[in-house]
C-alpha cells in the first residue's frame, strides 16, 4: 500500500490517554479500526456483552464505547447492567443512522453520549475528549470534597 497521502487526525489532549476505555462490538472490522485509532489510549476490545461484563469485574474502565446490536445480550441490556453496577462509568453508544429508536432508548436508559456509524476518528476523539474532560472535572471535585472533609475533621 502507498504511503499516507494526506494528514491524519492528531490525538487530542494527550493527558487523557491514560483513561481506560472498553470497546464492545462483535464486528471485527470495527475492532480493527478502534484498536488503530485508539492505539495511544488504554483500550480493550470485547466481542460480546458477557465478555464486557467479565472484564469489568477484573478491571476498572472509565469509558465504555458500546455497539447496540450484538449476538446474545444487546447494547441496551448491557447499558442497563453497567449503569446499575458501575454507575460512574461513562457509556457512549455507537449506533447506525437507521437505529434512531435505539438511540433514543439508550439515552433514556442513561447513555452519556453517542456516535453514529461509521465511526470517524475526528468524531471519536471529539466525543472522547468531552467525556474525558467531564471525568477529570468530577475526579477533581471529588478529591477537593474529600480533602475539605479531611481538613474539617
Amino acid at each position: 500500500m502507498a504511503e499516507q497521502d494526506q494528514k491524519t487526525t492528531e490525538v487530542p489532549r494527550k493527558k487523557h490517554t491514560n483513561i481506560s476505555i472498553l470497546f464492545v462490538d462483535d464486528d471485527k472490522m470495527a475492532q480493527m479500526l478502534m484498536s488503530k485509532f485508539l492505539k495511544d489510549w488504554n483500550v480493550y476490545c470485547a466481542s460480546s456483552g458477557q465478555e464486557a461484563l467479565e472484564t469489568m469485574e477484573e478491571k476498572t474502565y472509565a469509558v465504555v464505547l458500546l455497539d447496540y446490536q450484538m449476538p446474545g445480550m444487546n447494547g441496551i441490556e448491557l447499558l442497563k447492567i453497567i449503569k446499575k453496577k458501575h454507575s460512574m462509568v461513562q457509556v457512549i453508544m455507537i449506533t447506525g443512522s437507521d437505529e434512531l429508536n435505539t438511540l433514543i432508548t439508550s439515552l433514556s436508559e442513561g447513555a452519556d453520549d453517542f456516535i453514529l456509524k461509521p465511526v470517524k476518528k475526528e468524531t471519536l476523539f471529539k466525543v472522547l475528549g468531552n467525556t474525558c474532560d467531564k471525568i477529570t472535572r468530577w475526579t477533581g471535585t471529588m478529591k477537593a470534597l474529600h480533602k475539605k472533609k479531611q481538613d474539617n475533621q
Binding site: 502507498a2 499516507q4 494526506q6 464486528d27 471485527k28 480493527m32 485509532f37 447506525g96 461509521p118
Partner: protein, 114 residues
Amino acid sequence: MDNTDIIDLDELKEIMDNDMELIGECFREFNKDWPEAFGNIAKAVEVKDASQLDETAHKLKGTLRYLAADQAQKAAYELELAGKEQNLENLEEKLMLLEKRGLEVVDYINNFKA
C-alpha cells in the same frame, strides 16, 4: 455502475483517517470473511430464520458501512429489515442482489491499487 458506486474511496479515506495501511488490512479482512458472512445470511434465508437473518445481515451491513460500500450496504440492509419485520417474501431476490453487490466489492478490492 462506476467504481465510486461500489466503494466511495474519498469517504473510505475519511473513515480510515487516510491510513492506507489500515485500508489494506480492512480490505484483506473483508475478502477473507466475505464467503462466511454471505454464507451465514444465505443459510438464514434458506431456513427462513428471521432472527438469524436480522443478525447476520446487520453484521455484514456494519462491515460494509465501514468500507463505504454504499450499494452493498443497502442490499444487506434490505435483508436485515426483512428479518426485523419478519417479512420473508422475495428473500431469494434480495439475497441475489446482495451476492452481486458483495462480489463487486470483492472484485474492486482485488483490483485496488493505492
